[in-house]
């Protein structure tokens, strides 16, 4: 378990302490890849996965790509509709890549249904998280809520999905956000922005999608879990 959580915690503590919350996506992305390397093996590069797909490893690379988008947005190199549009595209693409291998055995109608629905939900979650974090008052509360959200996802993946691997990887992301949050003790301020909504929303969506289609997470549980970020909208908003 420590192999899964220590890399993202260490990366978040180091990078967020040095560069602030804007480096959290980088820490989470790097931490996640290293965690997978320690838990299982180093993921194959996308060039190899394209020919020999592996849903879990595609998930990792999609989250790494989402982290890069978030990083660019934090540094104002990527913003506005371009940032939102790329989050939607990556959400849809991520669903397709994560399901690529299992979908190869599905009939076309089933593929369109599961990949289409998965892509829509993941893209929608990225937009919802972006909007929620844009609307929320800057502070620790949104980060606490997101840590709880990802922790709950991890628990569901282990408890209902029967996959320790997916649960540990999702828990690693929760640990990264939690560790970043912890830096607020000696380095203020810590606040998540809309850019973080991209990688957090895509992570939430893709982990649940993988739980349903790669493990045995029941659909109903996944649907309720997917809807959970709507609760972020009740967080106190920014004052005008």
């Amino acid at each position: 378990m420590l192999q899964g959580t220590l890399p993202p915690i260490a990366a978040a503590l180091l990078l967020v302490s040095l560069g602030g919350a804007r480096l959290l996506p980088l820490a989470a992305g790097l931490g996640l890849l290293v965690a997978y390397g320690l838990l299982k093996r180093w993921p194959d590069p996308p060039t190899e996965l394209w020919f020999a797909p592996n849903g879990t490893e595609w998930l990792l690379w999609c989250l790494a790509a989402a982290a890069v988008l978030a990083l660019l947005e934090h540094f104002r190199l990527w913003r506005g509709r371009l940032a939102a549009g790329s989050a939607v595209l990556l959400g849809g693409l991520g669903a397709w890549l994560v399901l690529a291998k299992v979908a190869a055995r599905w009939p076309l109608a089933e593929t369109l249904l599961h990949v289409g629905l998965g892509g829509l939900v993941t893209a929608g979650l990225a937009l919802l998280l972006r909007a929620s974090l844009h609307r929320a008052r800057p502070g620790l509360l949104p980060a606490i809520a997101v840590t709880v959200l990802l922790s709950a996802d991890a628990a569901l993946l282990v408890g209902f999905g029967g996959s320790a691997l997916l649960g540990q990887l999702c828990g690693a992301l929760a640990a990264a956000v939690g560790a970043g949050l912890g830096t607020a003790l000696w380095r203020r301020p810590f606040a998540l922005g809309p850019g973080d909504g991209t990688w957090l929303g895509i992570a939430h969506g893709l982990f649940l999608l993988a739980g349903v289609h790669l493990a045995s997470l029941p659909w109903l549980v996944a649907v309720f879990a997917a809807a959970a970020p709507a609760l972020l909208l009740v967080l106190p908003g920014r004052t005008k």
Binding site: K40, T56, G162, L165, H213, A215, S216
Partner: protein
């Protein structure tokens, strides 16, 4: 290498001729696996305490083997991961999940021979074992267990081999020694003539 020991066992299991869905080979030396009378049993140490046994309830495949020229033979075996059974449904689901076989992405365990040779009275079969999406070469010693006539000619083979599951990316519980890395597989094949 233990993998090589396991391969002979797999090969033995796979040595039985064609199975349910596989196209039946034609020829005097062609056989099909009689799924109902063939067995795949595996053994792994739990918590470094006791040997735990599980089975795969289904194996199918084809074997083409000329006893006079085994090097010209071929073995092709398929074991559906969904047929794994350990007397506990929840544990079976865990085995089928991403922590072990990742059955939704890799529904079958396959063995395809690449080389068959004689080893004393037995056969030494080398081939590619694909498990959980990882393909590794395996060599196993295959013993003939008998032959006879029971609603048609039949022949039996058996192999036992050991693999390291971590080499196939299945390392759940290895680090904590909750479940051993080495898995011994015992395959008993009964081969029948394929239906024309």
């Amino acid at each position: 290498m233990k993998l090589h020991l396991l391969l002979p066992v797999l090969l033995a299991a796979f040595t039985v001729p064609a199975t349910l869905d596989a196209p039946a080979p034609a020829g005097d030396h062609d056989w099909a696996v009689d799924t109902g009378h063939s067995s795949v049993v595996f053994r792994v140490k739990h918590a470094n305490v006791a040997n735990f046994y599980g089975v795969f309830n289904e194996i199918r495949g084809t074997v083409s083997l000329d006893p006079q020229a085994p090097e010209k033979g071929a073995v092709s075996l398929v074991i559906p991961v969904a047929s794994v059974a350990t007397r506990d449904g929840k544990r079976d689901d865990h085995l089928k999940g991403p922590d072990f076989f990742n059955a939704k992405e890799n529904p079958d365990i396959t063995f395809t021979s690449t080389k068959i040779g004689k080893k004393g009275d037995a056969l030494e079969v080398t081939g590619d074992l694909e498990l959980a999406g990882e393909k590794k070469p395996v060599t196993m010693t295959v013993q003939k267990t008998g032959e006879g006539d029971f609603y048609g000619p039949r022949v039996g083979y058996e192999a036992t081999f050991t693999i390291k599951r971590s080499e196939f990316g299945m390392d759940y519980g290895v680090a904590r020694n909750a479940l051993g890395d080495e898995v011994t597989v015992m395959v008993g094949l009964e081969l029948v003539k394929p239906k024309k």
